[in-house]
């Protein structure tokens, strides 16, 4: 699978601003396909960000989060070159993770 996680983490005056975009259909279970059949729910349940091994945000998502979901938050600390790791797992057990350097 191609990379599903895009992340921008910028250290800025003692805190780090994180923005991430995840490629995921986030099917709600309420939308029908062309043949009129309901597309079963398929969505990210948990998304986690960790900075140097410490969790800085846990997102618990339901099917009402938009397709290709976006999240923005910030945490204290973090400097250029530090490692941020991002992982998600969905309701079908699919998962992905990646690390990014703070800019």
């Amino acid at each position: 699978m191609a990379n599903t996680i895009l992340v921008r983490a910028n250290a800025d005056g003692g805190s780090t601003v994180v923005q991430a975009l995840i490629r995921h259909p986030m099917d709600s279970g309420f939308v029908k396909d062309k043949s009129g059949k309901l597309i079963p729910p398929h969505y990210i349940e948990v998304l986690e960000f960790a900075h140097n091994g410490t969790v800085v945000l846990t997102a618990l998502w339901g099917p009402a989060v938009s397709k290709d979901p976006f999240i923005k938050f910030s945490f204290k600390g973090g400097k250029k070159g530090d490692t941020l790791s991002i992982s998600w797992i969905d309701n079908k057990g699919l998962k992905d993770s990646r690390t990014a350097a703070i800019m």
Binding site: S28, E45, A50, G62, A64, F70, S97
Partner: protein, 169 residues
């Protein structure tokens, strides 16, 4: 996945601030490349505690009860930023921010969606009590932001008009 911890988020919050539940099987952790172990192991552990029930509720009270085991009071100290009219119900930007102290969680609810709870965030110490995300709205609805601060729940709400629902094609 089952909801192993009723009223989960509240208990679930303080418990895991630092890395790695020792309960994770080494084999699972090995699925991920070196260097990414931290978040990926935790995500697996948290997935076991995913609050399925909270995401299946149809009212604000039921969702909050399932997630936090308590009810919220309205607070002027929460800023909820949503568009007045959503350009497309499939992608509605929502930003929550608060000046309340000791924030441990933020939740976003859409009262007229099929299921009320859209997203919940666990906010560890050191993380700003401010998140922006994008959610789907099925129709015109009240969006509620809930903040857990000092063990209490507070909320703020805004109405969002939706002309093009987020449930259709």
């Amino acid at each position: 996945m089952t909801d192993t911890t009723p009223g989960s988020l509240a208990e679930f919050l303080p418990r895991r601030r630092h890395v790695l539940a020792g309960t994770i099987a080494g084999g699972m952790a090995a699925l991920f490349g070196a260097g990414t172990a931290a978040a990926s192991d935790i995500v697996l552990a948290d997935a076991k505690n995913y609050p399925v029930k909270a995401f299946a509720q149809k009212t604000e009270a039921d969702a909050l009860s399932a997630l936090f085991g308590k009810t919220a009071t309205v607070s002027p100290k929460i800023t909820l930023d949503t568009p007045d009219i959503a350009e497309n119900g499939a992608v509605v930007p929502v930003a929550v921010q608060t000046e309340l102290p000791d924030v441990t969680a933020v939740a976003i609810l859409a009262l007229d969606n099929p299921f009320t709870l859209s997203a919940a965030y666990r906010i560890p110490a050191g993380t700003a009590a401010a998140v922006s995300t994008r959610i789907k709205l099925a129709k015109t609805t009240t969006v509620v932001a809930v903040v857990e601060s000092g063990g209490q729940l507070y909320s703020a709400s805004r109405s969002v008009k939706v002309t093009l629902g987020g449930c259709g094609g």
